[in-house]
């Protein structure tokens, strides 16, 4: 029996695919909000501490080398099947680009601007929040964008531990490879993730447009 076209598959299975796409979007959105809060927070804490800062960035980099399948399996006894382990793992994988860009952005602020900020009587906290953070913001957003792409790729693996999202289509498709629509199923899972990733990328451009001051927009 000939394999039906992808369009036929989409048409017949849409009611099954759509919730997975929604889930995928929810997963990435949740992960990135948490990852950005954590990563930017850590970056703000370590940007001016070369010693401990180096350690943290080194740890985040080392973390990224752990195979995702292994990590999620390791998390199984702690978090069980489903969302929690997936979210924790993805948030951790997202840290390196976010922390590194936050640190680079905060360090990259013109020393003259910092000196005059202190010189006119801004408290260290005010300098960080009102001067450094807004000036580092485009660099931070770039880091979050990269992290998002990274997380999209890894998120497909989550299906292995019954995590949410389109990964489920890929895994099921592969498991029953050769059966009717198995290839379509895997392809729709993979393409779906790609399309959503591109949509997120577009959303970041919009976010950048809306949140970066006109004074420093390039």
């Amino acid at each position: 029996m000939a394999e039906p076209s992808v369009w036929d598959y989409l048409g017949s299975q849409w009611s099954h695919i759509e919730p997975l796409m929604v889930e995928q979007v929810e997963l990435i959105a949740l992960v990135m909000v948490l990852a950005a809060m954590l990563g930017v927070g850590v970056g703000m804490a370590i940007w001016d501490k070369p010693g401990s800062g180096g350690l943290v960035i080194g740890a985040a980099a080392a973390f990224l080398t752990i195979p995702s399948l292994a990590l999620m399996t390791l998390f199984l006894p702690i978090f069980g099947l489903g969302w929690t382990g997936t979210v924790v793992a993805l948030v951790l994988y997202a840290q390196l680009p976010i922390i590194r860009n936050t640190v680079a952005g905060l360090q990259g602020v013109d020393p003259g601007v910092l000196e005059s900020a202190r010189g006119i009587g801004m408290s260290p906290r005010r300098v960080l929040v009102h001067v450094q953070l807004p000036l580092a913001w485009p660099v931070i957003i770039a880091g979050v964008r990269v992290a998002t792409m990274l997380v999209f790729g890894i998120s497909a693996i989550a299906a292995y531990v019954s995590g949410p999202g389109l990964g489920a289509l890929i895994f099921t498709g592969l498991q029953r490879f050769g059966a009717v629509n198995s290839l379509n199923q895997a392809a729709v899972g993979g393409l779906g993730i790609t399309v959503l990733a591109l949509a997120f990328d577009g959303a970041y451009l919009l976010l950048r447009r809306l949140t970066v001051s006109r004074g420093i927009r390039v």
Binding site: D110, S116, G119, I120, G121, V131, G215
Partner: protein, 337 residues
Amino acid sequence: MSERTRGVSIELEHLTKIYPGVAAPAVDDVTMTIPAGEMVVFVGPSGCGKTTTMKMINRLIEPSAGAIRLGGVDVTHGNPVELRRRIGYVIQSVGLFPHMTIAANVGQVPTMLGWKKADVRERVEQMLELVGLEPSTFAGRYPRQLSGGQQQRVGVARALAADPPVLLMDEPFGATDPITREHLQLEFRGLQQELGKTVIFVTHDFEEALALGDRIAVLADQSRIVQYDTPRVLVGAPAEEHVEQFVGSSAHVRMLSLLTAREAASPSVAATRDIPAEATLRRALDELISGVPALRVVGEDGKVWGGLDFQGLCRSVARYFRDPENARTPEGMTIRS
């Protein structure tokens, strides 16, 4: 504008900065008084500690020893952030906040001090007008849309916005082109005379020091004060070779820029061509060289101070070199135009 805060005196007492691991102090035992409302220029070669000395006054650099008093009040200890809000600060790189509008930049200190929004807005407009920038044109712009000279004007407006009694300026006009620099110097000189702030101005440019300072402190290594005097005394009677080097070989010519036509006027010289009483002798000499035998010195109020010819001009300049004490007389303190 309503009541403005006038300058207060600044006293430095045995002010010293020693960096850990460095044997020689960066600033060694500086004691000096900057009178209220005067503009004092620290001039000296790069690395002599003039900027370090200045930054200890708003405690961007914490002194290792010694004391700082503003208007008689010791500010060596206590909250440095609050201290800095009462001291205007302008640096060479300007350091405007690029992500904020000009209005937000200028309004920064008043906002931090908790002024009402409407008051901040009003003050921002006053300040921009004060430094010669039309508020309706510039308030909404961003720093990168301004020229270097305009940015430095905004820097001065930002420093003055909360009406501090004291202003610290670290080579503020150093990065601008010569023509803009001269404009800014003249403007700022006028502004300072109008506002009566106490200003410490750091530069390595002796010309600038002469053009701006009520007094000049010539500094050498470790911020040692070689001579602290009015421009006239510095040029007429340099204390050491170090100062002579700064003055250079053209001391008499420099003195021309420091004296006014009024000071050289003599009742016995008759002339028809007029020159303003507050014009410098440099300008008077220029006219004399161009072929006018004598000039009539006339005040703004129309008062005739007398005539000025070449001999009178030479005598007047020579006086400060024969007897530098002349420069210390009250007349010697006349504000130059």
